[in-house]
Symmetry: C2
Subunit: 123 residues, 2 copies
DNA sequence: CGACAATACATGCACATGCAAAGGATGCAA
DNA sequence: TTGCATCCTTTGCATGTGCATGTATTGTCG
């Protein structure tokens, strides 16, 4: 079960390469919808959440971003009118990010593109 | 096709997660040797190259970086005295990056750390 | 009640990166 | 030689990210 250093390095290299290839392809494809990968992931998470809304911290769990980066992504989405921020009534520290109709529309348009890229690159 | 889409998304998510997990672990581990991931990769490539030297463009092929990013990585390594740049004699447009003794020493110290992290995280 | 820790999110700052353009050396043709 | 294309590397700039910190709110313990 002991794997040599070379084998490990090779596997790691392959993983990095696959990740980079798909990431670049996704970026290019989503750019046509004026979305970045992080933006799309947030939209996807909101779209599948009950009531189409979600607390920031909850988003932070599913998206691979630091808390600050997430805050800025949501800020960018809000600027474009794709999501809006609402205060949480029971805990006024919390904030709900919720999908707007425009956000859902943008997401639905981008989703096939996203799937196609994955289908082409994941085997 | 909705099922297929979900499966693809799930696979992609798993890949991203694995990549992120290992990347973070590597960063933390290599930080103890004052090296970033890109820096380590460049040292590794040079260490395994004949004469411990390599053209910039050749490095660019193995490391996943743009030309500009690679140039800066080598610049950082040069500042630390781990690498030095030499003109290529037959084609004076080219530049060789070559490993210094200090660079080799740093690399040899960091290599076990690198392997250990991969062994712990790659199955 | 009052002070202090914990939580949730936003922001200042530094840094690595990619893209596009510049910089510098060489080769080639007239 | 002069002029221009080519090759390789570096640099200017904009962007996205993480870390550390700031601000507001909530929870806890004496």
């Amino acid at each position: 079960m002991a794997k040599t250093e070379a084998v490990l390095a090779e596997r790691w290299h392959a993983l990095v390469e696959q990740h980079a290839r798909i990431t670049i392809a996704l970026e290019r494809a989503l750019a046509e919808h004026d979305l970045g990968i992080s933006e799309f992931e947030v939209l996807a998470e909101l779209a599948s959440a009950p009531e189409n809304e979600c607390r920031m911290q909850q988003l932070s769990g599913t998206v691979h971003l630091s808390q600050s980066a997430l805050s800025r992504v949501v800020g960018r989405l809000e600027e474009q009118g794709l999501v809006c921020r609402n205060m949480c009534k029971d805990d006024r520290r919390g904030i709900f990010a919720s999908l707007t109709p425009a956000g859902r529309e943008r997401y639905e348009h981008a989703r096939p593109t996203h799937s196609t890229v994955l289908a082409q690159n994941l085997r």
